[in-house]
């Protein structure tokens, strides 16, 4: 049952999908015109439901999805990130991140639905933000990274087009390359915005990958030069202070999103996690360990005792006195000997 083929019909079409919390939804919708996003298989268009809600649909045409299964990978990544974010933030979903409304990736023409885009790509306002707006932008950008890191998501594709700005808050979009912290990195040689490790595709994804890319976005936003170099030499003091260590080669050396927010004097508040289900999961892990321990009672092992600390040599007061006495005796001896010598010569 492929409903999207009826897109051109005037009458609303049925659209079945699952929302990020796993609930089935069925909307009657009207489709807007579609647009190709250059370079990728994913297309997008606006979708308006009968309820008046307008969302963005991103989809891969059926023919392509069947012929090249990898063409759906961007959608898979987006849904994965979207579901993770929804699971972490639930009702307190942050405005800084584009929100996944629903998806169905198991049909011939896989698709997902996103909350509508806000603002314009940062590339379009790069170099035009005034100081106050610039700071607000930076706070919002790093705040969004804080939120992603909280959900263990690495966007891995932050650029001045993926980050949008509406004058108040950023909106992170295009999670096509998104990974979960610990995923093996996918090489992105062509991306000038990615950290060296990401470009080479070595190691595993970490939140610091996004810090690098966000640093590049900030540089672009400040300088307006579309080809920023990951270099702070010659930059203004404010920028140098803000982006200190952001372009460290080693991800561990880079500041975290929270560090950057502190540098901006901004709060690092996070909505509390809805933890009811998480708790049961954590409990399950503990039970697992307990059962395994019961099955395999531990065999006693010899614990290594730490080597006793050797007492440090220190001269006691008594020893000084002894030394003095010895010196006295020797001195007296010398004196006596001299006296005898002189006496002898007389």
């Amino acid at each position: 049952m492929d409903v999207t083929k009826d897109a051109t019909k005037k009458a609303g079409s049925e659209l079945d999908f699952v929302d990020p919390h796993g609930r089935r939804q069925s909307w009657t919708v009207h489709y807007g015109p579609s647009s190709d996003s250059a370079g990728t298989a994913v297309r997008s268009r606006t979708v308006t439901s009968d309820g008046g809600r307008t969302v963005v649909q991103r989809w891969v045409p059926a023919e392509l999805a069947t012929r090249v299964p990898a063409s759906c990978d961007p959608l898979e990544n987006e849904v994965r990130a979207g579901v993770r974010l929804a699971g972490r933030f639930r009702d307190a979903f942050p405005t800084e991140v584009v929100r996944l409304i629903g998806y169905d990736l198991d049909r011939a023409e896989p698709f997902l639905l996103l909350s509508p885009y806000r603002g314009v790509a940062v590339a379009e306002v790069a170099g035009r933000l005034g100081l106050a707006e610039q700071r607000q932008f930076e706070v919002s950008l790093f705040r969004s990274l804080l939120l992603l890191a909280e959900a263990d998501i690495v966007h891995a594709g932050l650029t001045s087009t993926a980050v949008r700005w509406d004058g108040k808050a950023v909106q992170i979009s295009d999670f096509s390359y998104a990974a979960v912290v610990g995923d093996p990195r996918v090489a992105r040689r062509e991306s000038a915005w990615a950290s060296p490790n990401q470009r080479a595709g070595t190691g595993v994804a970490e939140a610091a990958d996004d810090i690098w890319a966000a640093g590049m976005v900030v540089l672009h936003a400040v300088s307006g030069r579309a080809d920023p170099l990951p270099d702070l030499a010659g930059r203004g003091p404010a920028l140098q202070n803000l982006l200190r260590d952001v372009f460290a080669a080693d991800g561990a050396q880079r500041p975290s999103a929270a560090d950057l927010l502190r540098r901006l004097d901004a709060h690092t508040y996070l909505p509390p996690a809805a933890d009811g289900v998480q708790q049961a999961f954590a409990e399950g892990r503990q039970v697992f360990d307990r059962v395994l321990t019961e099955k395999w009672p531990p065999t006693p092992t010899v614990a290594l005792l730490p080597a006793p600390e050797l007492p440090r040599h220190r001269m006691a007061r008594g020893q000084i006195a002894l030394l003095v006495a010895a010196v006295l005796v020797v001195a007296t001896g010398v004196a006596v000997a001299m006296a005898l010598l002189f006496g002898g010569s007389r």
Binding site: M1, D16, F17, V18, P20, G22, R24, A62, A65, T66, P69, C72, E76, V79, R80, G82, V83, R84, G87, D104, L105, D106, R107, A108, P110, A179, V180, G182, D183, P184, V277, A280, F281, A282, E283, G284, R285, V287, F288, D289, V291, L292, T293, K295, W296, P298
Partner: protein
């Protein structure tokens, strides 16, 4: 004029063996007619000229087959290599699960992955036991599913049926590994299951997230099942028949949460589905971590019935896997079939049964 099989087999050691297909025990080699399986013509009686050169004779015997005597006459005709007696005791692997759990798909995907060389990184060489039956299996099961993306029919209710058997050669020697589909239900009905259970060497318990976690796929457009199930009859029957309860069973087991693609956007499945294979290295620590997460996920959903194998088998690992990588739409998989992590449970079992030797293998399923 050709020689009789008896003369042909001269000089081969005779040993009592168990057939991995019918599970009967008999002396081997035995039989009258040597067969040879040919790609095109199927199985042909083998004519060997009298007075053939000894070296040539041995070469022919290496690929020749004899019909299994199958003393209990309960299995259709099948064949074993002449050299079968030189192999170790067969490892019988039972796939336990309900009809809907996707056992058949899982096994077909496993065989397909093996066929593609999925076990090579672990230093394993794989040949079929009965080439004919293996070819049939590939043709009837693997190809429709993997190549054409078609749903393949499950095995019948309450039936324990042979699926395929492979000769797996490692540094430790060659071991026949036979796969049986165990539907559970009433295992007492026929005589064969009891024999199967007596000889079973490893178990793969297949969990269907549809029943265990109440997670239905989008493509599954059937009406929701009426009642929440709290037990899995197949698991229960097999475990009780093996005498579980009093003490830990020493049959290595792997619990597979199949159709994990449905859960691929859920933590922790979203994490595990992207883990790369670790290049033919057994990593007991990682297996344990994955097991812990599978356990916790089932636990979180109160699917305790499906955790029985872990509680009752001493060595048991748990896995996320997806035989098809997606949901069917009717009888087809619209986006093709992309198996995920289907070999990991088998590799864990092979490690636990010693087919893959090594100290790391010894640590699999152990604290």
């Amino acid at each position: 004029m050709t020689s009789s099989a008896a003369t042909m087999l001269e000089g081969l050691a005779v040993r009592s063996v168990r057939c991995p297909i019918c599970l009967d025990t008999f002396d081997w080699p035995s039989g009258d007619v040597l067969y040879h399986y040919e790609e095109r013509g199927g199985r042909q009686p083998l004519a060997m000229p009298l007075g053939i050169d000894e070296l040539k004779r041995r070469d022919i015997l290496r690929t020749a087959e004899l019909r299994c005597p199958n003393p209990s006459r309960d299995t259709p005709a099948h064949f074993l290599p002449v050299s079968y007696a030189s192999y170790a005791e067969p490892l019988v692997v039972g796939l336990v699960g309900e009809t809907e759990s996707g056992k058949s798909h899982l096994l077909a995907a496993m065989i397909a992955q093996i066929q593609r060389g999925g076990l090579q990184p672990y230093g394993l060489k794989v040949d079929p036991v009965d080439i004919g039956q293996h070819e049939d299996y590939l043709r009837d099961r693997v190809e429709p599913l993997i190549l054409r993306g078609e749903k393949i029919p499950g095995t019948g209710e309450d039936v324990t049926s042979y699926a395929d058997a492979l000769l797996i050669t490692s540094a430790a020697g060659t071991r026949p590994v036979a796969f049986f589909d165990v539907a559970g239900g009433n295992l007492v009905k026929t005589g064969q299951p009891s024999r199967f259970l007596a000889g079973v060497g490893a178990l793969i318990f297949v969990v269907d997230p549809g029943t265990a976690l109440q997670q239905r796929g989008l493509g599954d457009r059937s009406a929701p099942r009426e009642a929440v199930r709290s037990r899995d009859p197949a698991f229960d029957v097999v475990l009780s028949r093996l005498g579980a309860g009093a003490q830990y069973l020493d049959v290595p087991a792997a619990v597979v949460l199949n159709k994990a693609d449905r859960l691929r956007f859920q933590s922790p499945v979203d994490f595990w589905m992207r883990r790369p294979g670790n290049g033919g290295r057994i990593d007991s620590r990682r297996l344990r971590e994955e097991s812990r997460d599978v356990y916790a996920l089932l636990y979180e959903h109160n699917a305790h019935a499906w955790l029985r194998p872990f509680h009752e088998c001493r060595r048991c690992t748990l896995h996320f896997a997806s035989a098809t990588g997606g949901e069917p739409d009717g009888d087809r998989y619209p986006r093709g079939v992309r198996p995920w992590r289907v070999l990991d449970p088998l590799v864990a079992l092979l490690a636990m049964t010693g087919v893959i030797p090594g100290s790391e293998s010894a640590a699999v399923g152990v604290l």
